[in-house]
């Protein structure tokens, strides 16, 4: 469980987040949404303890984050960044093994158990076949999945993802989120993901937090919040919402800003569009 109270923080002299109050229950699967620069990444950085709040406090599992050690936090929370940055030619297996770091003793090396955990995480993310490949030589999407495997190998109870699937193709995105949903369901892992893909968020997250201009604009269940009015207001662009044909989850549709088209287009426009000029 994560609790944020009266949070204000930022970089340099300007604050990015103001007056943020938040409670994330254990076992939640939460999407953090909002336009560019709304503070999604900053919020995740505060939650994982990288960025110290200027004002307010953050508790994780009942402990004030200020009183916890880096190792304590890493044992409970794992993060996947937007872009994995690896400078040197490490094998992918070594990268995933790095996730075991907070569980190692100072003097000991990786044990058979650590290797098992790493290989398990790689199996789950479909990266085991890359084990001996160099991280500098795999594709961006593969590197991203290796980063996710590293986070899973960390064996966290809270998983923070910052646009972690943005460089994956549609099928991989669904695979990764299926896996996250499964972790969430079966092991009670709390999952917080900052994302731009509204529809992916609607498909997988039971709760959404919309940030705008450094504050929480909306916070509630996906069904209550995912409406045409809310999304249009947050993103300041016309958004239509319909039901997913299979899961019945709400899905957003954006309307291209063409002058020859009225701004309220029928919601259920299906089939290939014909554009004859």
């Amino acid at each position: 469980m994560i609790r944020v109270q009266g949070l204000r923080c930022g970089y340099g002299a300007s604050d990015v987040l103001r007056d943020v109050d938040l409670e994330i229950p254990e076992g939640g699967m939460i999407g953090v949404l909002g336009p560019n620069g709304s503070g999604k990444t900053t919020l995740l950085h505060v939650l994982c303890g990288i960025l110290a709040p200027w004002e307010g406090r953050v508790w994780v599992e009942g402990c004030d984050l200020r009183t916890t050690s880096i190792r304590w936090r890493a044992q409970r929370m794992a993060s996947v960044a937007q872009r994995p940055a690896v400078t040197f030619p490490f094998r992918c297996l070594s990268v995933v093994l790095m996730g075991r770091y907070p569980h190692l003793s100072r003097w000991g090396g990786y044990t058979a158990q650590d290797l098992d955990a790493a290989m398990g995480a790689m199996e789950q993310t479909g990266t085991l076949a890359l084990a001996e490949r160099l991280i500098t030589e795999v594709s961006g999407g593969e590197a991203q999945r290796v980063a996710i495997a590293r986070a899973l190998a960390q064996d966290p109870s809270i998983l923070l993802l910052d646009e972690a699937t943005s460089s994956l193709d549609v099928a991989r995105k669904i695979q990764v989120f299926d896996l996250l949903a499964q972790k969430n369901r079966e092991q009670g892992t709390t999952i917080v993901c900052a994302m731009h893909d509204l529809n992916l968020a609607a498909l997988y997250c039971d709760r959404l937090i919309f940030l705008k201009d450094g504050g929480i604009a909306l916070d509630g269940t996906t069904y209550a919040l995912f409406t045409s009015e809310n999304l249009s207001a947050i993103y300041e662009t016309p958004v239509m919402v319909s039901k997913h044909p299979v899961t019945m989850d709400p899905q957003a549709h954006f309307v291209p800003g063409r002058p020859d088209r009225p701004s309220t287009v029928g919601i259920h426009r299906h089939g290939p569009k014909r554009r004859d000029g």
Binding site: T87, F88, D116
Partner: protein, 367 residues
Amino acid sequence: MDRPMRPDPDSLDRALVRRGEERAVRRFALLLGTLAGVAILSAFAASLFGRIDIPAADVARALLTGFGWEGTPPVEEMWRVVVFDIRFSRIALSMLVGLSLALAGAVFQGILRNPLADPFTIGVSTGAAFGASLALFLGLGARPLLGVGLLPAAALGGALAALFAVIALGRIEGHLRRDTMILAGIVVATFLSALISLLKSLDEESVASIVFWVMGSLQGRGWSHVFFILPYLSAGVAVIWLYARELDILAMGDLQAVQVGVDLERVRLVLLIGASLLTAAAVAVSGVIGFVGLIVPHLVRMTAGAEHRRLLPLSALLGAIVLLWSDVLARTLLPGGEELPVGVVTALLGGPFFCVLLKRHKRGTGL
């Protein structure tokens, strides 16, 4: 660690990965053994080269006597002195210096996440050069201290002073950052180079000795120098080895390193001090010897991968071998007993070699 969702724990893929791991370990052991063997053989082979021709059998006996081996037939005292005290001590020192430079290079490349970094990037060596130049300028170079003269001590002091200047300058709001550290290093190095030039222009007489020292040489060094740097060197090696795994994780970037639980500020500072100690020790007794710290970690990374638990020991051995033979070239290349500065030899060999590496691995990894 029980994951109910995990499939059969020893699937075909896992067995393959395990076998791959074992292969990697065997490969590392083989490389390590080979390099260690080459290093030992080289140390003995290099004792054969010198101004005086001494038969190989006598060299071997002189060495054994030097090591305190009683069982050999007695060897002429002069030959023992020449082979053991003059040649072999210099060989040992060149290997220690090569080891230090290669290790320090690997660590600086890791901390700065820059494959082009080397022990001289952040100005530690320029600090040492300035300390030595100042001692030479003041005519204190030969003043005895700790059995080696004031020069190495002055160089060591200069190196440590430069390190602390870089750390002080590179801290912004209490954080030691990679980019500010490099900038601070360049500023400190440039400033100190200017001071060295100033010293040179102020005193014509000391120019030659300053220039020769800055180019790097092992001429006339012996056991006392070995013992002088040994404490700093051991401390540096110990620190670096303890933090080798953290060095791996630093390569993922600051953010990720903290997120997997690395105390970034502390680890970086400790590693920086460890690598600087090695650099300072090396520069203090040998002057500025370039390219070893840049190229050796590169070569090893290309053949044995980037994992520091493997990269560091292999780099240390290769660095020792490279500098040993560079020094043999430096002292035997010119006819008539004249010596080249070994820094010139490593630069002459290293420059073209580095170009070849660049060409061949343009698209490749790490560079």
